[in-house]
């Protein structure tokens, strides 16, 4: 059985633990054995994005010490996986021993849909949802990891679900962490356009693989279009299974 180390992003840990729970149940359903390392905190993405490299290095080293020996590390967040895969080696480039450990770790870190489809070769997890679903291509999932077909395959395999196209599905939703709060005059029209495209698509549900986008799009829907839903892929696949 594939032992899988769960990498639960802080946004999920603090605000959206149900995404973590769904991740566990999906991995088990797909035949893997997930376990959770209690020492984990944050991957360091906010510090990197704000320019605090020294502090981010602390996060990176902590992560490497904790997860360093695990064969497969799986997370329901594309951007956190990007941080570990792409930023850690760059961050630790001037410390050869740490750099080596970061580089060795990088290929063992997976985004959830990537792990399910590419490693476990599972697409049908037995879920069912009668209706139309649209998929939002989160920036770090699509451009950061090159993951796009995997979530779509998983959605398409759900019984009763029709995956419908959405305009500008690969456009940023305007989250960007601190960006959303610091530049509301830019961020708001971005999320507004995203939601308009979702409404225009005729989908009953918007699905994505990134907790950050979920907070942003979900927060906007909750305020302006309370009837419309956005859901993490993990929760979508976990339902009705």
């Amino acid at each position: 059985m594939n032992e899988v180390s769960l990498f639960i992003p802080c946004t999920v840990d603090l605000f959206l633990p149900h995404i973590g729970e769904a991740t566990v149940s999906l991995l088990r359903r797909a035949g893997a054995a997930p376990f959770y390392r209690r020492g984990q905190t944050c991957c360091g993405q906010p510090a990197i994005n704000s320019g605090y490299r020294k502090e981010a290095k602390e996060a990176a080293k902590h992560f490497i010490k904790l997860f360093g020996d695990d064969e497969a590390i799986v997370s329901p967040s594309g951007s956190c996986v990007c941080t570990v895969k792409h930023h850690y080696p760059e961050l630790l480039a001037d410390e050869p021993a740490w750099f080596r450990r970061a580089a060795e770790l990088a290929p063992r870190v997976y985004e959830l849909s990537q792990y399910l489809v590419d490693v476990l070769h599972v697409t049908d997890l037995g879920a069912s949802f009668p209706g139309k679903a649209a998929y939002h291509e989160s920036c770090h999932v699509l451009r950061g990891l090159g993951v796009s077909t995997q979530p779509k395959q998983l959605i398409s395999a759900v019984k009763g679900t029709q995956l419908v196209p959405m305009n500008q599905d690969d456009f940023c939703c305007g989250f960007g962490g601190e960006f959303a709060d610091r530049y509301p005059d830019i961020s708001e029209p971005m999320v507004q356009d995203k939601v308009q495209n979702y409404l225009d698509s005729g989908a009953d549900l918007l699905i994505l693989c990134e907790p950050g986008c979920l907070l942003n799009i979900g927060g906007y829907l909750s305020r302006r279009h309370p009837g419309k839903r956005v859901m993490h892929l993990a929760n979508f696949l976990a339902q009705g299974g």
Binding site: F15, R28, Y36, C139
Partner: protein, 486 residues
């Protein structure tokens, strides 16, 4: 013709962005133009047998050119001089402007005809000429319009694309001798042509920019779709070509590939309508071309950028503007929000280096790091990575790194937060302590199961978005249960 001096307004970014977004909301067509250019580009690129390989080749050419920059510039100077051109090295925009004004004055030129160029915008050449009583006439249609309207370029390749056609009609009736009102773009273009044609006929002095300067042959290359650059290069007696240091490429073969890339990425064309390649002034027996050719090689901060190998990548840019069209932020706020000559992702990458980080804080922070720009760049610029680099320069204790581009210290609250965060991130017990302290504070304003506001803090977020409650139990705290249930 007077032109409003191009004030540097990069520090007013947030305000200008708001205005820009409001304007775009009122006119949906503003958002459609970048989208159209984006699609044209995609269609144009499909004529490459292997798109990523073609783009990677472009990156390699630009990277080599920058690595060998000093050597290539010397070679270019030697070849250009041998071809009969006069090369002038200008350290600053002022030096370049003074030189051009002096040349024009010595020749008794009363006006200057200009081909479209970004570098003369950067230099503020038009203001310098006007100040000395020499009229600059922009000959590119878009540049002509914004010059007459006293505004700055909205887009690198479409400077006036934000201006409604009705305003252009009124402008031409008032200032370009147009006889009868029309909204037909062809007729409007024709009116501008007729008006400018007369300027071309009597032109004594022309100024243009440069797309590529070929070191091995001393050739200057310009690409365009209107013919104004060719005209400004060929018809006046005296011609000045202004280039910044990084425009030089090693060989003609390199230039050829960059032309293929530039045309496709700019406007989806396989090649621009006009390509002019000039090596020196008119030679004996030749029909046209200037009698004298001056080449101004301008530094204006580039050699400082060159000294930093990581920042140097910003100089790879060939000004195709594909990043502008791809950028979700540019599409919302338009080109005027960036506060100076360059806009969009390349503006966010270049202007902090040219003007100093202390004057451009918002330019490298107002980005979600979505990576669309990096994805389309034909010369391998990693815009998000550069923006992160600038952000880290503000934080860095390394004074040398900070002083090169004038990094600005971060507010103590933010620095303090990350210091504490840096401790807590290493110890889960400390992290948990932080969580329990924040939870009751964050959750106290909940209504209908969500948080609607935080009384001032995070007002930008809560203006239009809710936040879920911070979970009563974190995933970690629930793990023992989860382990059993699922």
């Amino acid at each position: 013709m007077k032109r409003a001096a191009m004030r540097i307004a990069t520090e007013q970014f947030a305000e200008l962005a708001r205005t820009g977004a409001e304007k775009a909301r009122g006119r949906p067509s503003l958002k459609m133009v970048p989208d159209l250019l984006y699609r044209l580009r995609e269609a144009g690129l499909s004529s490459f047998p292997d798109i990523p390989a073609a783009q990677a080749y472009g990156a390699a050419i630009r990277s080599e050119a920058l690595t060998r920059l000093p050597e290539l510039l010397e070679e270019f100077e030697k070849k250009a001089t041998a071809n009969g051109a006069t090369v002038f090295w200008a350290r600053t925009a002022e030096e370049a402007n003074e030189y051009i004004v002096k040349l024009a004055k010595e020749r008794g030129a009363t006006y200057v005809i200009k081909g479209k160029s970004m570098v003369t915008e950067e230099m503020g050449l038009n203001e310098a000429l006007s100040k000395h009583g020499i009229e600059p006439w922009e000959a590119d249609l878009g540049e002509f319009i914004i010059q007459q309207m006293h505004c700055t370029p909205f887009h690198i390749i479409g400077p006036a694309l934000n201006i409604p056609v009705e305003e252009i009609r009124d402008l031409f009736l008032a200032k370009a001798d147009m006889k009868k009102p029309t909204l037909d773009p062809v007729e409007l273009g024709w009116a501008a042509r007729l008006f400018l044609r007369e300027k071309f006929h009597r032109a004594q002095f022309g100024v243009t920019g440069v797309n590529m300067a070929v070191a091995e042959t001393g050739t200057l290359i310009n690409l365009e779709n209107e013919g104004n650059i060719r005209f400004a290069k060929a018809s006046p007696r005296t011609q000045v070509s202004v280039m910044t240091l990084e425009k030089v490429v090693p060989t003609m073969k390199d230039a050829m590939h960059l032309m293929r890339l530039l045309s496709r990425n700019c406007s989806g064309q396989r090649i621009s309508a006009y390509v002019s390649m000039d090596s020196g002034p008119r030679k004996a027996g030749e029909m046209d071309g200037p009698e004298e050719l001056f080449i101004v090689i301008l530094d204006n901060g580039r050699s400082r950028i060159y000294r930093d190998p990581r920042a140097r990548d910003a100089l790879r840019c060939i000004r195709c503007a594909a990043c502008l069209n791809s950028c979700p932020v540019y599409r919302q706020i338009g080109g005027h929000a960036y506060g100076w000559v360059y806009s969009g992702p390349i503006g966010q990458v270049l202007m902090p280096l040219l003007l100093g980080l202390d004057k451009t804080q918002d330019l490298y922070r107002a980005c979600t790091l979505c990576g669309a720009c990096k994805g389309v760049c034909p010369v391998g610029i990693d815009h998000p990575d550069l923006l992160l680099y600038y952000r880290s320069m503000d934080v860095s204790a390394d004074v040398a790194a900070r002083s090169l581009f004038r990094g600005k210290k971060r507010p103590w609250r933010e620095a303090g937060f990350f210091k504490a965060w840096g401790m807590a991130v290493k110890y889960r017990w400390l992290w948990n302590l932080g969580i329990s302290l924040t939870r009751s504070f964050v959750n106290r304003n909940f209504r209908e199961g969500v948080i609607r506001d935080r009384k001032g803090a995070f007002g930008g977020w809560f203006r239009s978005r809710d936040l879920p409650l911070m979970a009563e139990k974190t995933f970690q705290e629930k793990w023992e249960e989860i382990k059993k249930i699922h």
